[in-house]
């Protein structure tokens, strides 16, 4: 899963100015064309990306930035922002299809199904770890669901990069393991 370049070339990408998302992005980004976690939080709320759900927490926004942050700058450029919005729309759709009563939260077993429907084929034990981590009295609100999806995607990407033989096994050196795992 290769991520497109994370910055915009000087002058921006062609057509960028017409992109409705660019309006929201540039409203919070500074001269450097990058946004930090709290600016992302504002941006996502203003652009309605959280839909009818509660706005994303700062923690989740931080995770989102880290998911796409190749240079560990702690900020996100417009191209990355677009990638994020695309992913968010997908997750929103998945969540919506499981939150049938529109309560803003899904239940444990629905989280399991949602994760499966996104193509992750996890063992019961792995799913248990995830459910323990996110379930709040058996319910998982949208923000936590997104947090989980972001981390799954980031971790999967990190894992794939180290699975050089494509056997589903990856090698981690200790210092690398610490840093990779903590930044996700």
């Amino acid at each position: 899963m290769a991520y497109p370049g994370y910055g915009a070339p000087p002058g921006g990408v062609p057509g960028m100015q017409q992109d409705p998302l660019y309006g929201y992005f540039s409203a919070v980004a500074g001269q450097d064309g990058q946004i930090s976690a709290d600016e992302l939080q504002r941006c996502l709320t203003q652009s309605g990306m959280s839909g009818s759900y509660q706005p994303f927490s700062l923690d989740t926004c931080r995770l989102m930035i880290n998911m796409l942050d190749r240079d560990m700058s702690g900020t996100m450029g417009f191209n990355e922002f677009k990638d994020l919005c695309q992913a968010l729309n997908g997750w929103k759709q998945t969540f919506g299809s499981f939150d049938r009563d529109r309560s803003g939260a899904v239940e444990g077993h629905e989280l399991q199904q949602a994760i499966g429907s996104m193509g992750y084929n996890l063992s019961p034990q792995a799913m248990n770890c995830i459910m323990k981590r996110y379930s709040n009295h058996g319910r998982i609100p949208f923000d936590d669901f997104v947090s989980c999806c972001v981390r799954l995607r980031a971790l999967t990407d990190q894992f794939r990069r180290r699975d050089t033989t494509h056997t589903g096994n990856a090698s981690f050196q200790y210092d690398d393991f610490i840093q990779v795992t903590m930044s996700v």
Binding site: A37, R62, N66, D71, M72, S73, G74, L122, S123, Q125, A126, C129, I130, K132, R133, R151, L152, L155, T156, F159, D163, G168, N169, A170, S171, F172, Q173, Y174, D175, F177, I178, Q179, T181, M182, S183, V184
Partner: protein, 185 residues
Amino acid sequence: MAYHSPYRAAPHVNAPPDQSFLWNIFQRVDKDRSGVISDSELQQALSNGTWTPFNPVTVRSIIAMFDRENKGGVNFNEFAGVWKYITDWQNIFRNYDRDNSGFIDRNELKLALTGFGYRLSDQFYGTLIEKFDRQRKGQVAFDDFIQCCIVLQRLTDVFRRYDTDQDGWIQVSYEQYLSMVFNVV
């Protein structure tokens, strides 16, 4: 290297406290006199130097570390461990808070963790501060510093469990990796 020798608290400079001294403290902290110090009682007794409540996640971790009976609190016997644990951390924190600001900034954090044996990139310290600094100051207070170290230690522990030949490398399947991470962080 932090990996091969688990980082130890600063050399033990305090003589073990005497029982009546500890008992005095215990009684003051155990406000409802239940004989067990709960999370909230411990939280109220601890200070992070910011006039805001001590990190409840850290409080939970500390109680869980010493609560041998899974009762959700610590009795007097277990409290001795808690007291020493906190005192050790206070010494470490003071030692690395070089400018005595009451906070550990990015450079001081780097000194501390490198001193513990971790080998982490410069940018990563920024990530750590972002992740653990609840005061939004760009520096970590006492409780958040402890929390950061606790999580690093947990990751180290889980890594060790898989590194059976102790060479600093592990090979894990995708699912093992996910379970490791979601269990700890």
